[in-house]
């Protein structure tokens, strides 16, 4: 167990000496700023119109959380499907390309040491992304009074989504030696996870209600939405944890599979 932090620390350090970490952090923050600005501008505009038309009922209901923070976090969660594959693509693929997998697999490290160490590094990076995004809603506490609990739940949802995506990215990286393929594979899987709900809702599955229900459950959207609306339900949290567990189990199997050939 004590070796996991060593693997994680090396992985994080190598993320931060490569340009990948900086490109991802810069672009993600930039996008966050852009979406946030867009949100604020449209919030102010809506407010002004409501006042002009004296729609007092509407004004009563309008709040920073529903009109600004929740949609903002929703956009940022979609952006994650581009960002996380960039972070995770090198985790295993680069070891294979470097030949360093031979070092790891002939050392006393167990496969779980390797997989968990690398995943922890990716998860730490996700936390950093969550902090950066959290900065924007935090600004609103200075100028308005959004609900703290609801905002925190939304950011938790974003971080959990990122963690689940990172596990998927780990798996994609573990099945190939090419970082490019790892990126594309992770991106496609995440995209499928994202649109699964829409497919289920369209009724494309015909009359198989259980399949529709399953695909709906599998889709990230609903679980994230619940959290971002302030509903911290164990079943939604469990969904993300299941995704992490499945991703890591598959990764472990893929790393181990070099021994089967």
């Amino acid at each position: 167990m004590k070796r996991i932090p060593a693997v994680a620390a090396r992985e994080l350090a190598s993320l931060f000496v490569s340009p990948v970490a900086y490109v991802v952090l810069t672009l993600y923050t930039l996008l966050a700023g852009f979406f946030f600005l867009l949100g604020v501008v449209s919030f102010v505009e809506t407010l002004r119109q409501a006042q002009t038309f004296q729609a007092f009922d509407f004004l009563q209901q309008m709040n920073l959380n529903d009109a600004l923070i929740t949609p903002f976090l929703g956009s940022m969660s979609v952006v994650l499907i581009f960002v996380i594959p960039g972070v995770t693509m090198g985790l295993f693929a680069s070891e294979k390309a470097n030949g360093t997998d031979e070092l790891l697999l002939t050392s006393p490290l167990t496969i779980w040491d390797i997989v968990l160490g690398k995943y922890l590094a990716a998860a730490a990076f996700v936390l950093l992304l969550g902090l950066l995004v959290g900065f924007f809603p935090a600004l609103l506490f200075r100028y308005g009074d959004p609900e703290l609990g609801k905002t925190a739940a939304g950011i938790l949802g974003l971080v959990l989504t990122g963690m689940a995506y990172a596990a998927v990215g780990c798996f994609a990286s573990s099945v190939t030696r090419s970082q490019m393929i790892a990126f594309i594979l992770a991106f496609v899987i995440l995209l499928l996870l994202l649109i699964m709900g829409a497919v289920a809702e369209l009724g494309a599955m015909g009359s198989a209600a259980w399949l529709e229900g399953f695909l709906g459950w599998l889709s990230v959207g609903e679980h994230f939405e619940n959290l971002s609306q302030g509903l911290v339900d164990t079943s939604d949290v469990a969904y993300f944890l299941v995704l992490v567990a499945v991703g890591l189990l598959l990764t472990k199997a893929a790393v181990e599979s070099v021994r089967w050939r």
Binding site: R3, A6, V7, R10, A13, S14, V17, S18, A97, N98, G99, T100, D101, E102, L103, L104, L105, T106, S107, P108, L109, T110, V258, R259, W260, R261
Partner: protein, 260 residues
């Protein structure tokens, strides 16, 4: 310290290694010889537990490489054909990492790294980034990584490839020193440079087309002024005549080919 019992590796119909057995004791330096594609790398990978054998077992210090993987791996220092380096790390950071994952206790890590740096002549480049080093230095960093945890068993896959003559001499004397010194390491090193074997090995194991064709002390082989080169040529040629008709001509090693 190192024992192979009927090691075989097959990839479908391809037989890369075919029933190889040998034992190597403390203080022995064994040259593992064979033409390219003879199965040297595959055999070494099976000894280190990187590849599971199709048949047979490998034991390191009495521990089954797969049954008691942890104990066996702790006892091995392994330098693969391409040194497993992280180009973005600096030399001492890399060695510290290797020492950590090789279970060197925290308090002894610094000393272990310093010793490995010194033994491999890396003192002046300890803070350099691995990716910026010349091939010779990288090879030495790889070797330093293999010995940083003072393993009783060393498995070196072509340790002097790509080095200049002076570096080759240094590495050779280092390997000899490791075998003779207080540690009494058991060393197996693969090569196809016959002069290297004559310079440092006490014993020769020759494999050809995946089979062991010769296993004898060097002095015995070269007794009466015979050249190792002649023996090598004779053994590898004889096999072709004996098996050429029955066996497929190609005996490639897929694992080796997979290397970039």
């Amino acid at each position: 310290m190192i024992e192979a019992r009927g090691l075989s590796k097959r990839y479908g119909d391809l037989v890369a290694v075919d029933g190889v057995s040998f034992q190597i004791g403390r203080g022995e330096v064994v040259g593992f010889l064979g033409p390219n594609g003879a199965g040297k790398t595959t055999t070494m990978r099976m000894l280190t537990g990187f590849l599971p054998p199709t048949d047979g077992t490998a034991l390191i210090g009495g521990h089954d490489v797969f049954g008691e993987a942890q104990a066996a791996r702790r006892a091995v220092g392994y330098l693969p054909e391409t040194p497993p380096l992280y180009p973005e790390m600096d030399v001492q950071g890399y060695l510290r990492y290797v020492a950590t994952i090789r279970d060197v206790p925290r308090g002894q890590r610094r000393a272990a790294v310093d010793q490995a740096l010194e033994r491999c002549g890396l003192g002046e480049v300890r803070r350099r980034v691995v990716g910026s080093l010349s091939k010779g230095f990288r090879q030495r960093v790889g070797l330093a990584g293999a010995i940083v945890h003072s393993p009783p068993v060393l498995i070196l896959d072509e340790p002097t490839v790509g080095l200049d003559p002076i570096q080759i001499r240094e590495i050779r004397s280092l390997i000899k020193e490791l075998a003779r010194g207080a540690g009494e390491h058991a060393v197996i090193l693969s090569t196809h440079i016959l002069a290297e074997v004559e310079a440092i090995c006490g014993r020769v194991i020759l494999i050809h087309r995946g089979r062991k064709v010769q296993d004898a002390p060097l002095v015995e082989l070269t007794a009466g002024g015979r050249k190792l080169e002649e023996i090598f040529a004779r053994e590898t040629a004889r096999d072709v005549v004996e098996e050429g008709a029955a066996e497929p001509a190609e005996r490639a090693e897929p694992a080796e080919e997979a290397q970039p």
